[in-house]
């Protein structure tokens, strides 16, 4: 792979081999900017009877080629590169989550410290963490051995101890893994890859433990050299390497695919994380991204350049819908529904969706219910994310007398909704909602952003593609992300702090318009996609819009398909306990945000 001059890259072809579909996009340099111009889709062909991922890739790329009027695949079924004026592409890149993605097991000494760092490294690299083994996870050694034996991960990340720290505990972990002899998920003929990223002084001892055979031990720098600092880079890079060399190599057709790409193939979620990090860094903003799927929900966040990703297994909209209802409890789901529903029927309804995951809501009631479930799923996933995305634990605190009573323990969440600038949604229920107002409201209700927050959705789920692109051409990736990947829904202005129902919370003015928002009230004001405006917000005493309680805020906001949503409901969002007043409250919000208006307008017109 030769390094390409980013200046000369004009045509970029990217694919994402998902578990069911392979999506391809074409990015071209048009009129001085990179734009995503065409896209194509084809079923993924990893499994039998095709067993060659490149077939799906070629199918999707051929489709784009036809749409773009550009020949991308040559007669031998290879992607043409480099590009000429009429054919081929300058670079081809790909991500993959086919075959269940990258599944890992991680181990560390203390669950909240090195094991948590190891988990962060694995999740950040885009893997699914099947289990975390730690010296203090409450399981007895034989239970841990049994667990390791039962799991069939693609690779294991072993960490533990600071540099020069504990040696015996790390070796003990190695001694649990070695006799358990975990079997890789694919291919019994290759050795289980183990990445050791722990105490540098224990490297020899650990390699002795794994010397027995059956393991492919790779040693990288400690991911927690001191407790005060994480160094996840080397471990993450090594995970990507092994993903390519071992895991991908086991999947049919990937060896061929790897030969075509101009950048290493990345696990899909890892690439999503990369693009969010790139954007956050270039624009200097804090970003939260969410991808709600049928079975799981991924939450990504970048706060002050610290990236975190969580995968909430069993929080999803189809396979896991029943679990969402069980975890959130039905009353919590139903508080978002402004009409009465028979609980027994509803339960059956939920289970039917679970066993027939592909169905879509046909009636408005069904849609509202599904979106209510989505709110709870997102809320729970975000809660889990907040609990995971924390400051480091085990750090000595430097205090002065002034800090006496603000003794905050380590491990506080770094997710701060007030400093959040951009909230990006993707996943069926969010991106395919009939009205974008619904998407925006689901985001606001579930994530409860505070202050001024931009809302956007991923138009055609091209974040993975852009993530890989970011590694070779960050500028192009960022441009396309902003112009084509994201559809801005608008800006949410939400009051945090001491909001009193019915009393004024804050007043706003922009573009010559102005208004006042009362506690518990919502208002929608148009500001079209592509427009920006300087907004002036004046909160009442005790209400915070970003500059502190009662402080005036002046800043630029972006418009979007929805507009500017003023939220005076306060944080944390409280809904009336009483069912009927809850219904009328929610109905009020629905009306003021025009969530389901279209149909009524149609009805009125008739």
């Amino acid at each position: 792979m030769t390094a390409l001059d980013p200046e000369r890259i004009k045509v970029i072809l990217a694919t994402d081999c998902g578990s069911t579909t392979t999506k391809a996009i074409l990015i071209q340099y048009v009129d001085g900017a990179y734009r995503q111009t065409h896209r194509g889709e084809a079923p993924t062909t990893v499994e039998k009877p095709f067993a060659d991922v490149t077939m799906g890739v070629i199918n999707s790329v051929t489709e784009i080629g036809e749409l773009a009027g550009r020949k991308l695949v040559d007669d031998d079924g290879r992607i043409i590169s480099p590009a000429t004026d009429t054919e081929g592409c300058d670079i081809y890149i790909s991500t993959s989550s086919a075959g269940g993605g990258l599944q890992m097991m991680v181990a560390g000494v203390i669950a909240e410290m090195t094991a948590a760092s190891a988990k962060r490294a694995a999740l950040g690299a885009g893997s699914i963490v099947m289990d975390v083994i730690a010296a203090n996870d409450g399981r007895r050694p034989h239970e841990q051995i049994q667990r390791i034996r039962d799991l069939r991960p693609d690779m294991i990340l072993l960490s533990g101890g600071t540099d020069g720290g504990t040696k015996d505990k790390v070796v003990q972990l190695a001694e649990l893994i070695a006799p358990a002899k975990p079997q890789p998920r694919f291919g019994s003929d290759y050795e289980m890859p183990i990445i050791y990223a722990g105490n540098n002084e224990a490297q020899t001892d650990v390699s002795e433990v794994f010397a027995e055979g059956g393991f492919d031990l790779q040693i990288v720098d400690n991911l927690r050299p001191v407790l005060e600092r994480e160094n996840l880079g080397p471990a993450r890079d090594k995970i990507h390497d092994i993903f390519l060399e071992h895991v991908m190599a086991q999947a049919p057709g990937y060896d061929k695919l790897m030969g075509w790409t101009g950048a290493p193939i990345m696990p899909t979620p890892g690439a999503v994380g990369d693009i969010l990090q790139t954007v956050a860094r270039i624009q200097g903003i804090n970003v939260v991204g969410v991808d709600i799927g049928g079975a799981t929900t991924d939450v990504f966040s970048v706060f002050d350049e610290t990236f975190n990703r969580t995968v909430s297994a069993n929080l999803g909209m189809s396979y896991s819908i029943s679990n969402v209802c069980a975890e959130a409890t039905m009353p919590n789901v139903l508080r978002w529904v402004p009409f009465n529903m028979n609980e027994r029927e509803l339960r059956n309804h939920v289970k039917n969706k679970m066993i027939r995951p592909t169905t879509i809501p046909q009636t408005r009631e069904a849609l509202m219910f599904e979106q209510a479930v989505a709110r709870e799923a997102l809320r729970l996933a975000y809660k889990q994310h907040k609990e995971f995305a924390t400051t480091l634990k085990g750090v000595q605190q430097q205090r002065t007398v002034g800090d006496t009573f603000t003794q905050e323990a380590g491990g506080e969440t770094i997710v701060n909704n007030m400093t959040l600038d951009l909230l990006v949604a993707s996943g069926g229920v969010l991106s395919h909602a009939p009205r974008m107002h619904q998407t925006a409201m689901m985001l606001i209700d579930a994530f409860e952003p505070e202050g001024v927050t931009m809302l956007a959705k991923d138009s055609i789920f091209m974040m993975p593609h852009l993530g890989v692109l970011a590694s070779v051409h960050p500028k192009a990736a960022e441009e396309v992300f902003d112009r084509d990947c994201l559809i801005y829904l608008g800006t949410c202005v939400a009051a945090a702090g001491n909001v009193k129902a019915g009393k004024p919370a804050f007043s706003w003015s922009f573009n010559g318009m102005s208004g006042e928002i009362a506690g518990g009230e919502m208002e929608l004001v148009d500001l079209a996609l592509g427009e920006t405006a300087m907004i002036t917000l004046t909160p009442v005493r005790g209400v915070d819009l970003g500059n502190g309680p009662g402080k005036k805020v002046e800043r630029e906001i972006k418009g979007g398909t929805v507009g500017v949503i003023f939220d005076g409901r306060g944080r944390p969002l409280g809904l009336p306990e009483d069912r009927s007043s809850c219904q009328s409250t929610v109905q009020g919000w629905i009306d003021s945000c025009a969530m389901y208006r279209e149909e009524e307008e149609t009805a009125a017109a008739v």
């Binding site: 396979y319 896991s320 066993i355 879509i360 149909e599």
Partner: protein, 375 residues
């Protein structure tokens, strides 16, 4: 586009069914290629190492680990049964002795004076793999298991709980839309596969368990009843390991829903025949549905062997089941396949089809919300 792919559940009067019977760990295969087996025959077996049960004597006796050895009354290698005294304190002048009894049966593997722990290993767990369906062994995987093939009538359910079992089919309901209640279940249904019509009530399931039926099959079930039965709210549809004493299969879904008439008729035509049933369901990538497999003694007449419709293709005139509100459960016929997306009541745009309902009405339904009835 007059055709579209949509998956459906398989309900067929005849198919060549092959199933793999594999041991969890290496063991012994008892059959060889060509053998004819019946459902309950053990085709492969092995022993799993017994469970390890650590008994923390130091904790239980509240004494330092080093003192534990003096109180232990069994030796390494001894066999202990549940309730056997394994350790006893000296007490004060012979009074106030504390005795620790074993809560598990097994062999004393080790007693550690360092940790004060006694390890009791349970008896080896014999694992037997049965043939599950009656048929012929067509392939043997040495040390692992075998593959059995049979000509069967086959019914796929939508959801089930409980594992593999077998029994003769007994019809409890007289029509496909009759609710299966407790009074339908009779004493002679012990060991049988009870087939009902519409929703099975909680009482019916309870009664079936009481008479020790092998399985209970019906059109639907209430989620609330399922929750009561399992003791927990099922979060994701991955089942098969429940220990209910009965395998429960619903063919259509949750709620008041009648079994597809064709399914009912098929099962009815095999009443009295031995059937193999598996409730294991896994709705994820690599989907698994519960099944009722009825091995056939003779190959039935299967028309000209040509299917009326291509598998998985929506065509006008094909019977489909609507699988989502507001027409949930209704079986109709495709009457039109408009190619343009249609705005639904929910406001979404989706590709739809028109279904002719049994009442004669025509309804517009998203394509995602119908299920083909495979023949």
């Amino acid at each position: 586009m007059a055709k579209a792919y949509t998956p459906g559940l398989l309900v067929t009067g005849f198919r060549e069914h092959r199933c793999r019977r594999i041991l969890p760990i290496a063991g012994e295969v008892n059959v060889s290629i060509g053998d004819v087996v019946t459902a309950n025959d053990v085709v492969a077996e092995t022993n799993l190492p017994g469970d390890v049960n650590p008994v923390n004597l130091a904790n239980q006796l509240s004494m330092p680990a080093s003192d534990v050895m003096d109180c232990v009354v069994v030796n390494e290698g001894d066999t202990v049964a549940v309730g056997d005294v394994i350790a006893q304190t000296k007490g004060i002048f012979g009074f106030m002795k504390t005795s620790i009894t074993s809560k598990v049966a097994g062999t004393v593997e080790t007693i550690s004076p360092v940790t004060g722990q006694m390890i009791v290993r349970g008896a080896p767990l014999p694992v037997q793999v049965r043939a599950y369906i009656s048929g012929q062994v067509v392939n043997v995987l040495p040390g692992e298991g075998c593959e059995i093939e049979a000509n069967v009538a086959y019914v796929q359910g939508i959801f089930g709980v409980g594992g593999e079992t077998a029994g003769s089919i007994k019809m409890a309901c007289s029509s496909h839309d009759e609710e299966l209640d407790a009074h339908h279940i009779t004493e002679d249904m012990a060991g049988a596969v009870v087939v009902g019509g519409a929703r099975m009530t909680a009482a019916a399931v309870a009664r079936a368990r009481e008479v020790a039926a092998a399985a209970i099959v019906s059109g639907g079930i209430d989620d609330a009843d399922l929750k009561d039965m399992l003791g927990y709210d099922l979060g994701v549809a991955i089942t098969g390991r429940e220990q209910l004493g009965i395998t429960v299969i619903v063919t259509e879904g949750f709620g008041e829903i009648a079994m597809a008439a064709r399914t009912f008729e098929l099962l009815k035509s095999y009443a009295g025949t031995e059937a193999s049933v598996n409730g294991a369901t896994q709705i994820r990538a690599g989907v698994m549905r519960p099944e009722i497999v009825i091995p056939l003694e003779s190959t039935p007449e299967v028309g000209d062997g040509k299917r009326k419709y291509e598998e998985g293709q929506l065509e006008i005139g094909r019977p489909v089941r609507v699988i989502r509100d507001p027409y949930f459960g209704i079986i109709g016929e495709v009457s039109d396949l408009p190619s343009e997306p249609h705005v639904l009541g929910s406001g979404s745009k989706a590709r739809v089809l028109e279904v002719k309902l049994p009442t004669g009405e025509h309804a517009i339904v998203p394509r995602a919300n119908v299920e083909l009835i495979e023949e």
